[in-house]
């Protein structure tokens, strides 16, 4: 369970996130939508403390994952990120083989047992429906894969370290429709085992794949509701104007 209480986040003097409180159930897909600069990606990056890397940022409020405030001083950021995988807009495989890309996180965590690595790599590639496509060329460079395959490889890399939460920041915006469809099918399948939070500019994608949707505007969470409800009868006029294309 993910729970945020009155989260405010600042880049210097600029307040990017304003008083956001929300709950995300396990094994669900939650989509964040909203116009550019509304704070949805910033909010997503708070889930694994990615914004810690930016100087001059400040957060107030409680960000609780599985009962623990992840911004407590006692929390080890490395440990936190083991539990929360992240996939970015542009596929970013490492300049290594397909196998080593997936095994990377495991090796960093000190797992070097060959049999263990082979099993986990196969499992991760199978769960991203990539195994059949790459099983005969695991030693080849990840850059030989297509854009869609590279993105699924990055998802496999994130899954290999067994996180419970998967963050996706516009994971299909650089992909063609067929690759996008494959990733969407994958998200639908993965929610059985993971809690997925996705930022997307594509409203139809949010509608297709998510259980709940949050609409952000000017750093505020304007509406957060079941996706069916939000796309058929939104409670707020701002949401209605955005999803119908009258604004944004």
């Amino acid at each position: 369970m993910i729970k945020t209480e009155d989260i405010n986040f600042y880049y210097g003097d600029f307040q990017a996130i304003k008083n956001i409180s929300m709950e995300i159930e396990p094994n669900t897909v939650t989509a964040f939508i909203g116009p550019s600069g509304c704070g949805k990606s910033t909010f997503l990056r708070l889930f694994n403390r990615m914004n810690d890397l930016i100087d001059g940022t400040r957060l107030t409020g409680n960000f609780i994952i599985d009962g623990q405030n992840i911004y407590d001083k006692s929390v080890q950021v490395d440990e936190l990120r083991k539990n929360i995988g992240m996939v970015f807009q542009k596929p970013n495989p490492f300049p290594k083989s397909i196998f080593e890309n997936v095994a990377y996180g495991l090796r960093v965590n000190g797992n070097n047992n060959k049999k263990f690595l082979e099993e986990r790599v196969e499992e991760a590639l199978k769960s991203t429906a990539l195994w059949d496509e790459v099983k005969d060329k695991l030693k080849k460079s990840a850059f030989e894969l297509s854009g869609g395959q590279q993105q699924r490889l990055c998802i496999a890399r994130a899954l290999a370290v067994s996180p419970s939460i998967l963050l996706m920041d516009e994971p299909t915006s650089a992909l063609d429709p067929i690759s996008t469809s494959k990733i969407e099918e994958l998200i639908f399948k993965l929610k059985q085992d993971y809690t997925i939070v996705i930022v997307t500019h594509n409203m139809q994608q949010a509608a297709r794949i998510s259980d709940k949707t949050g609409f952000f505007m000017l750093g505020e969470l304007v509406e957060y509701a079941d996706t069916k409800k939000l796309f058929t009868n939104p409670a707020k006029t701002e949401t209605q104007n955005y999803i119908t294309g009258r604004f944004g």
Binding site: S181, E184, E185, F188, Q204, A207, R208, I209, T227, K228, F231, T232
Partner: protein, 227 residues
């Protein structure tokens, strides 16, 4: 199967179930009419609520499907057709219920068997049931070859209805005390005739869904024959 396909599959399954329910409502209305079975009439009236529930549920699911998945091409035509087919099935269900209510009407005694035979009421019932069954097969198998046959059958139902008018007119002249009974019998035939028309409307929707052809406001039989 993709999530969108799973949703479409679920919608089709719900529609199939509603279709079977409406078919059984007409079959029961026929039995109820021919055997003057008042218990069966109550059963039909009670089951009409389920028909209405399917209508509302599928309407809402279609709305959700359009809002969430933005269907195009054959998927869009399927959803648009389903909205109309389901609405039409609900109306057919209303007619079946209305026949059942008429059986419960104190003013409507047991049927005059000779008159019913002359009016071929059982045949009209059977013809409408066959039409709706064939519509179901055409939809389920995504095959419009049956369309022409179903539309031609509707002409037969219309003819049986028009043939009934002089028969009932003569019957009233011969049995003036049975004027109300005769008019109510005509109402039953009218409901069956309307059911036939609704089956034709369903055929138009099936042709729109499968062949992307609009038969509405044309002579549908001619348009289908041309295929």
């Amino acid at each position: 199967m993709k999530p969108t396909e799973l949703e479409l599959q679920a919608l089709r399954t719900e529609t199939d179930e509603m279709w079977k329910l409406v078919l059984s409502q007409i079959e029961k209305a026929k039995l109820c009419y021919l055997s003057y079975d008042r218990e069966l009439a109550f059963e039909i009236i009670s089951r009409e609520k389920r028909v209405n529930a399917y209508d509302s549920k599928i309407d809402s699911d279609c709305e959700n499907y359009i809002a969430l998945y933005a269907p195009v091409a054959i998927d869009l035509r399927l959803i648009l057709s389903l909205l109309k087919i389901v609405n039409t099935l609900e109306r057919i269900g209303d007619f079946a219920e209305s026949i059942a209510r008429q059986i419960l009407d104190e003013d409507y005694p047991k049927i005059d068997t000779a008159l019913a035979e002359e009016l071929q009421i059982e045949t009209v019932f059977d013809t409408v049931i066959t039409m709706l069954m064939e519509c179901y097969i055409a939809f389920d198998t995504e095959n419009t070859k049956l369309s022409g046959k179903i539309l031609a059958t509707d002409d037969k139902v219309d003819q049986l209805y028009y043939d009934a008018l002089p028969i009932l007119s003569n019957y009233i002249l011969a049995n003036p005390e049975k004027g109300v009974y005769s008019l109510k019998t005509l109402l039953i035939l009218r409901k069956l005739e309307r059911m036939g028309d609704h089956c034709s409307n369903i055929v138009e929707e099936i042709v729109f869904y499968i062949d992307a052809k609009v038969l509405k406001h044309t002579n549908p039989k001619k348009s289908v024959d041309k295929q």
